[in-house]
Symmetry: C2
Subunit: 116 residues, 2 copies
């Protein structure tokens, strides 16, 4: 299924979904934090601080702080890499998985109600 999405549809889809997210009130989230969360849950592990920082093109302290916040919300977890103890592996959590799943449901539902 190749997705042919017109710009107006795409924007409405984003708008509707973001609105759902805001209503979820877990919305203290920054766009950056959201992108970190999605990266961790959608891309193949392992995820390191440095790796995510490179992908987002931000500095490492940004990732560290975001992990503090996301960790407080139990949306991700940290673990030292046993192989190379300098690394910190960013791990998924049950709560985070449910959260991301809900996000996906939002979008699927909203996509179905898009005007053609």
């Amino acid at each position: 299924m190749s997705l042919h999405l017109r710009s107006a549809q795409a924007l409405k889809l984003w708008h509707d979904s973001v609105l759902d997210l805001v209503h979820l009130d877990e919305s203290g989230l920054t766009v950056r934090q959201l992108s970190i969360l999605l990266t961790v849950y959608l891309e193949l592990p392992p995820h390191t601080v440095r790796g995510v920082a490179l992908k987002l093109k931000v500095t490492k302290p940004v990732i560290t702080r975001a992990l503090d916040s996301l960790g407080r919300l139990e949306l991700v977890a940290r673990r030292r890499d046993p192989a190379d103890k300098r690394n910190v592996l960013i791990q998924r959590t049950v709560k985070g998985a449910l959260f991301v799943e809900k996000l996906g449901d939002f979008m699927v539902t909203r996509a179905q109600t898009l005007p053609s």
Copy 2:
């Protein structure tokens, strides 16, 4: 065109687009601010502080402050409602329109490269 989107596709679409947004570095934006911006540009005017606050289910000061930020970035503008001078009308700007348009382009492009 009814959009049948699987959850995994939807999430990847969101992830890719959010990543583009972060790279745009206009990403000091909060999810809330983003939702305000999209609301103003996708829904029919007029937009008042109260109206947007209701839609997002937040208090009015939240909107006022967000408009301060978005106004500083020239993504939206304010104008007093001449009819009812208690109201402030939130208006679109050229810069904001270009920004939202770019967002739409991101999504359209990303949607085309989604795996089926």
